[in-house]
Subunit: 352 residues, 2 copies
Amino acid sequence: MGPGPCNPYPEALEALARPLLGHLDPEFLQLLDETCDRLRTVFRTTNARTLPISGTGSAGMEAAFVNTVSDGDVVVVGVNGLFGERMCDVAARCGAEVVRVDSPWGEPVDPGPVLEAARRHSAKVIAVVHAETSTGACSDVAALGAGKGDALLLVDCVTSLGGIPVEIDAWGVDIAYAGTQKCLGVPPGLAPLTIGERAWERRVVRPRSWYLDLGMIGEYTGSARKYHHTAPVGMIASLHAGLGAILEEGTLAVQARHAECGHALQGGLEAMGLDLFAAAGSRLPELTTVRVPDGVDSAVVRKTLLERYSLEIGGGVGQYATSVWRIGCMGHTARWRNVTLVLAALQEILGR
Amino acid sequence: MGPGPCNPYPEALEALARPLLGHLDPEFLQLLDETCDRLRTVFRTTNARTLPISGTGSAGMEAAFVNTVSDGDVVVVGVNGLFGERMCDVAARCGAEVVRVDSPWGEPVDPGPVLEAARRHSAKVIAVVHAETSTGACSDVAALGAGKGDALLLVDCVTSLGGIPVEIDAWGVDIAYAGTQKCLGVPPGLAPLTIGERAWERRVVRPRSWYLDLGMIGEYTGSARKYHHTAPVGMIASLHAGLGAILEEGTLAVQARHAECGHALQGGLEAMGLDLFAAAGSRLPELTTVRVPDGVDSAVVRKTLLERYSLEIGGGVGQYATSVWRIGCMGHTARWRNVTLVLAALQEILGR
C-alpha cells in the first residue's frame, strides 16, 4: 500500500510467466495491437499514436518532453509537488526555457496563473501533473485544456490513469503518459503514452533521444513494423493482461472501487483523529496522504507495518519526508480488506 | 532461435511470477545489491558503478553516450553493422562530432584505422560493438583497449555478455552495456551497464537525459538509496534469477555450452552446403549468419519454421534482409536439442 508499485493483478503476473514470444512474432504483434487499443480505451482517446514506452513512468515523462520541446521553446509548468519539479528538470535538459508556476504542496495546481503565464510567454507547452504522487492532490486538467490557446497541453497521468477519470480527448490533452505500476495494476517497466495530431504535427523531428524517438517507435508499433529496439515483450504481455482485467471488470467499476477504498481509508484515518494532508476537495482516492501525529516516529511505524503486518506504506517527500505518510489503494491493492487491515494495524500501533 | 530475445531460463520466468516487492523494500534492495554483484562477475569488473538500466539494450547504448559525450566532443565509431550505425546516430544526438570508420558488414572492426582516427581527431570516446547482432561478427576489443591512449573506450556487449568472454577490466573498457534478452537468458527490459573510474571522472555532470542520468541513478543503486525513478522490480528479480542460473552452472561452462552449440550449428549448416555469412575466424557462436540459398524465399522458410516447428529464426538486416538468416543460440536456447531440431527442420524444408 505504498505510492506504487501496487500489487499487480494476478492476470498480469501470470502473463509474465508465459513462454516468451519474439518481438516480431505475428502472435506478439497482435497482442501489441490489442494492448494499444486497450490503452486508447483507458486513456479515452482516439489517438492513433497510443503505445507503451519501454521504460518506467519517468521515461514516459522524458519521451513527452523530448519529442515536443526544442532549444529555446517556452514550457510553462504548474508545480505542486515533486513530479512537477521533475518536469522542470526534464524540460530544461531538452533545451526548454522553463517558466515555473508554483502552487503549495498538497493543493491542486491553480489553472489561472498557469494559463496567464502561458499567454504572457507564448508558451509552446503547458505541462502539469494530474495526480501528484508526492502529495496526493488532484489538479483540474480540463480547465487547462479549455484555456490552453495555441499551446500544447502535456499531462502526467502516472498516478491517475485507471484510478480516476482521465479524458484525454474531451479535456483537450495533446500528449500524456502514465506508468504501469499504479492504478493499472501491472509491474513497473512500461510507460503508456498517447499523442494527438496537433502535438504530432508540431513535434521535434529528430529529438535528442534516439531511444524515445516517437517517430521511430511509431514505425514499429504502427503498420510498418520496422524494427527500432527490442520490445520488452514480457512486460507488454503483462500490460495486455492487466488492461484485460480492468476492461473485464469495467473501467467505471474499477474507478468506483478505487473511490470506495480511498474514501473509506480517508474517513477511517480522520475517525482515528489523524489529519489528512492534501486539500479537501482535491484528495486522490488512490493515494492518501496523512500527517504523522506529533511525537510519533514515522520510520518506526512503517517498519512495524512491514514486519508485523506485511504492509508497506510510503513516507513523505522532500520537507515532508518524516511528517507525512502516503498510503496507496491502487490497482489490485484497492480492495476493502486492505483498507480494513491498514486501519486496524495503525490503530494497534498508534494506540488509538 | 532468433537474434534475441532467446528463451529465458526457467528461473528467470519464475521470478517474474513472484509477488512484487516495493522498490524501497529492504528485501528488494538486498536483491538489487546482489544483482549488481552478479553483473560485476559476468562483466569481469570491479567497477563500483555496475547496475541495470531501466530500459532495453538500446537504452544502455543511449545511457553510455549521454553520460560521456558533450556538445562538440569527438566520438570515433568503428562500424561493421547496424548497431555500429546506431551508435553514430545516438552519439550525434548527444551533440558529438562523429567520426565513422567503416569495415565491411560480416567482417570484424579493423582496430588500426579506428585507433588512427582517434589519435588524429583527439577523440574523447572510441566506440565499438563487440558482437554485431546484425552480422554475427565478433570484433577485437582488447586491441582497441591497448591502443586507446587518452580516449575512453565504450563497448556494446549486448550480444556478447554471458555467451563469449568479456573482460571489462583486463581489456581496458571504460564503459559498457548489454541487454538481458540475449546470452543472459532473461526477458528484454533491462540494460546492464558498467562504468569505470576513468570514465566517471570525465562524465557529463548534467546529461541531456534525466532518465538515464548515471549520477542520479547511482544515488539509488548506491548506499544513499535516494529515489530516482521506480525501479522495474520484477524485471530486476528476473535478472537476479537468470544470473543466478548462470553462476550456478558456471560462467565458463555457460560459454562452453554457447560455443559447442554455435560450432555444431555452423558445422551442420556448412555440411548442408550452405554458406556462412560472417568472416571465418570472427564468427559468434551465439549468433550464426548464413546466406539464403539462391532461389529460396527467405520469408517462406521462416514462416514454415515458425508454423510447423515452432522455431523462430531471424531475417537479415539492411541490404541483407532477404539474403541472410540469423540463427541464435543464446541463453537457455543454447541447447543441443535446439541445434539438432533447427538443422533437421532446415534439411526437410530445403530438401537437402
